[in-house]
């Protein structure tokens, strides 16, 4: 785990430093800018579905999915960030408590 922590931190730092250091024109290409905007979208989506809908190699529907649904409603209602997270956690916790 420490390897992942340190290697990940180093990689993220290098990107931050690169942005401040390299001349703008290197990354000014339209395609690269578009890719940079779309990459977080793809990664975040994948993280959402994997963490809410899978358990190891299996696809599952459990209280996490209900939590995600509740979070989606909160997002649509423009709830602040923390409230979105709290609503999801509370939904999953309550469902678990009810279903034992």
């Amino acid at each position: 785990m420490w390897t992942a922590v340190l290697a990940g931190a180093a990689g993220c730092y290098l990107f931050k430093l690169a942005g401040l250091s390299i001349p703008d024109r290197v990354l000014a290409g339209d395609r690269i800018r578009q890719l940079a905007a779309l990459l977080p979208v793809a990664l975040l989506t994948a993280l959402i579905v994997v963490q809410a809908l899978t358990s190891g190699p299996r696809l599952v529907l459990d209280p996490r999915a209900a939590g995600l649904l509740a979070a989606a409603v909160a997002v649509l209602l423009r709830a602040p960030f923390l409230l979105v997270v709290a609503v999801a956690a509370a939904t999953a916790a309550i469902l678990r408590a009810l279903t034992g």
Binding site: G19, L44, L47, P80, R96
Partner: protein, 233 residues
Amino acid sequence: MDRTSVIRASIAVGAATGAYGISFGAVSVAAGLSVAQTCALSLLMFTGGSQFALVGVLGAGGGTAAAVAAAVGLGSRNAFYGLRISPILGLRWPRKALAAQLVIDESAAMASAQPTPELGRTGFWATGLAVFVLWNLGTLAGAAGATAVPDPRVLGLDAAAPAAFLALLARQVRGRRAWVVTLLAAVIALASAPFVPAGVPILLAAGAAGLGLLGPPARLGLPRRGAPDRSDP
């Protein structure tokens, strides 16, 4: 806006992010990282989306390489913030090395939202430092708190991370192309999950971003210039 109000706004942003840091600390410990590892992430990585991604992949049983790739992939956007604000900051070595660690969503937003470069510099440093201090304090509090809970699932903490990602995603999805990428990424990740090691579906889904560039050029949901997303250090 004068200097005082920029600093005041910076501290407010830091406080909001610090509260979010509490949830990161709790989620990270729930994913199986130690308090020390969790705090090291907030100190050294210091970019929220990447931190959540790293602990998410590790918590799901993913390998080191997959976890690092997901985290660094998400962190790559900070390079573009750096490009945008570097003319405002006008930094030289070795200060640049220090400033780089503070290049995150919030500090970039505050720097580029100011009317003058001088206020922009104030916004960058004040926000960067306020978020750094409060994000790390929040992380420690959340991590220490979560170790007191025997099973984090009882508190629904395993549902907290996907919700956090969803809130971040909601600010990023603008335009038809971004929606197509969202759909593709979800399908790729779910379809591959049963067949490849944990963490790998996320990397495969990253390919959806590349696929999104194919086809006719469309109006793209690029984040508005000068207003990167808030609430993700």
